[in-house]
Symmetry: C2
Subunit: 380 residues, 2 copies
């Protein structure tokens, strides 16, 4: 019998523990650097050679032997022959043989085939040493890191043209709500799946066709299945029964508002999340459970991927004891937060109008005025 069934809802700690136990990071695939933005590195990447490979000029100037400039000054210029004793170099050029420093254009004046050095130059001055950025064998990017512009630039600089990244989880969305209603969960979940690193394997509007749902639950090709709608106690609600028949229904009913009819289970090795059809409940059941599973498959941090900050409550936040409650809040100019119209009143629109949400834990009846809370920011 699934945890949470028969009216007893599973606590979110149990939901998170199930996901941690049952859902593992997918395998790796090779990808070219040009396609790697946003992907999660599957294994540590080390530098095949030092970067830079040789000592090189750090800026435009005159490469020379520092010893030859001892005593140079504005009233005692030292003349060096270009091409033999000194060399014009651009930033990034390898240091010519016999030189160990670069004079800036303020320290040297060119005059035909020679240049005059008007300031002594220290050995190593304006030289970028071989390996200064990366020694051979040094870690370039660590496993688990998502590749951003800096990581891609450094990999390119290190001469790495392709690398192993975690496969993108293929997500199947099965819309099992009553037919004829305008679907807002499909577009919303499609965007959430993309945000969390998944690809849409298929999105199918099944309505109340139980046979089609049973077939779609067991069809191969997905790494995660989201069933949307049909999770409630109504006579037509068949999502939990269908999952129990096709595989395992591990959790049905979560101590979460909105989202309390959500469920979790699996068919063979594929995790399946049951999401309520009401859009606000669908959103938060995704964020707190289904999305957590997806982020784990993708090798990302499993927590809520929203920026957060600490803030103080300007008014009491009311919530029901025994449920994790998602409370929409407005951020005031002074940085404090206050409650705004909740999901029960305004549905999904509450999330669009709020600046953020506060997650009130199961054991609390809200937060008193003046409490410090964590606000997860929406729409930023």
């Amino acid at each position: 019998m699934a945890e949470g069934s028969q009216g007893r809802r599973a606590g979110l700690a149990a939901v998170e523990a199930w996901i941690e136990r049952e859902v593992q990071r997918l395998g790796a695939e090779p990808v070219a650097l040009a396609q790697a933005q946003g992907r999660v590195v599957a294994a540590d990447v080390v530098a095949p050679a030092p970067l830079p490979p040789v000592d090189r000029a750090a800026l435009d100037g005159i490469a020379l032997g520092a010893a030859a400039t001892v005593g140079a000054g504005a009233y005692n210029p030292i003349t060096l022959r270009l091409g033999t004793e000194a060399h014009v170099v651009a930033a990034g050029d390898a240091l010519p043989a016999g030189t160990d420093a670069v004079a800036t254009l303020d320290q040297a004046q060119r005059a035909g085939a020679t240049c005059e050095i008007i300031e002594a130059v220290a050995p190593g001055s304006q030289v970028e040493r071989a390996g200064a950025q990366l020694a051979a064998g040094a870690l370039v990017v660590a496993a688990g890191r998502r590749l951003d512009a800096v990581g891609l630039g450094l990999l390119a600089a290190a001469g790495i043209a392709a690398l192993a990244v975690v496969c993108r989880p293929r997500v199947r969305i099965l819309l099992a709500g009553p037919p004829g209603t305008r679907d807002s969960n499909g577009p919303m979940l499609g965007a959430l799946v993309a945000r969390d690193g998944g690809t849409l394997e298929a999105i199918r509007m099944l309505g109340r066709d139980r046979a089609a749902l049973a077939r779609a639950l067991v069809a191969p090709g997905a790494d995660l299945v989201l069933v949307v709608g049909g999770t409630g106690p109504g006579a037509d609600d068949g999502a939990a029964a269908a999952l129990a028949q096709a595989g395992t229904l591990a959790i049905h009913g979560m101590a979460l508002r909105p989202g309390d009819t959500a469920g979790l289970g699996r068919v063979d090795s594929v995790p399946v999340a049951l999401l309520p059809g009401a859009p606000a409940a669908c959103l938060w059941a995704y964020e707190m459970a289904a999305g957590r599973a997806l982020r784990r498959l993708a090798g990302r941090p499993p927590g809520l991927p929203l920026p957060s900050r600490r803030a103080v409550t300007a008014r009491k936040l009311v919530s029901a004891i025994g449920l994790v409650e998602i409370c929409p809040v407005a951020l005031r100019a002074d940085g404090a937060v206050e409650p705004v119209a909740g999901f029960a009143e305004a549905g999904l629109a509450a999330a669009l109008r709020a600046d953020g949400i506060v997650i009130v834990p199961e054991g609390r009846e809200g937060h008193a005025q003046g409490s410090e809370v964590v606000v997860y920011l929406l729409g930023s």
Copy 2:
């Protein structure tokens, strides 16, 4: 004569003022909802009809007239005929004519063609009123908002299948550094352009070919041109001269480290940014100037698009007075920050190893130990 030339570098306030004055948001284009994730809404979108369009059941239950349940209790059940006096409804169903409330399955028991009500139900109970989420004409998403999952879901719920979004800026990248060096700026800038909402119009490796650079600067088809390399004082550095000849060189030299040889100007109406070829300098000249122009074209907030938090310095952060200095820092377990190897020593690798950066303003020689600073987080 360009501001910042002849050794006088432009302050970042002047750079930002030039961008604000010279670079405007692009026009709008229509886009289908399925392609709208991440796009910036060009004009306010209002609801064409109330959402929900009619009063409807908020959950699975029995729709009825509340007046008929007055006095009902576990020991005084009131029997109603299904199909006439009461109706089985699922969450989201329109409320049948003659009903004004929904009894939950705890308040009502079905028995064949009738149901027994064992608790009085208040009028309006479990009814989602027409327009509760959105009144007709109410704002759904405001101009300037980037469309995330919630915005897409609400637009779909409101029946909006397409909308006007800000055009994606087309960015041309011209690599004008010395030939034969391994390019890391192209992959890095490509990722930054994608992050900031632009599309790559072209990326061309020109080396020191000045004629090709001159032609590429004036070719039509781009909304922003980035010239990378050739910005320094070296004999081969022709980027600033090429821009001055093709259009206007407004700024050359910025009080920014790394990135002090960066420049800005335009060719006809197209802004052109000159970025240093050294990768760390290229990165910060992009983030502080070129990226700011791109974000303005794209209708996004122009500031640094990195999450930030306040922190206290565990050790002094040293910087040069007269320059805005980008100081890489590590975040300690106690939340304080301390300096790590800088860009001058470690190049781009400094940005990969640091947890974040602190931007020290021009007028300061760093931040004393124990100062409160803003840390922009990298790699998250």
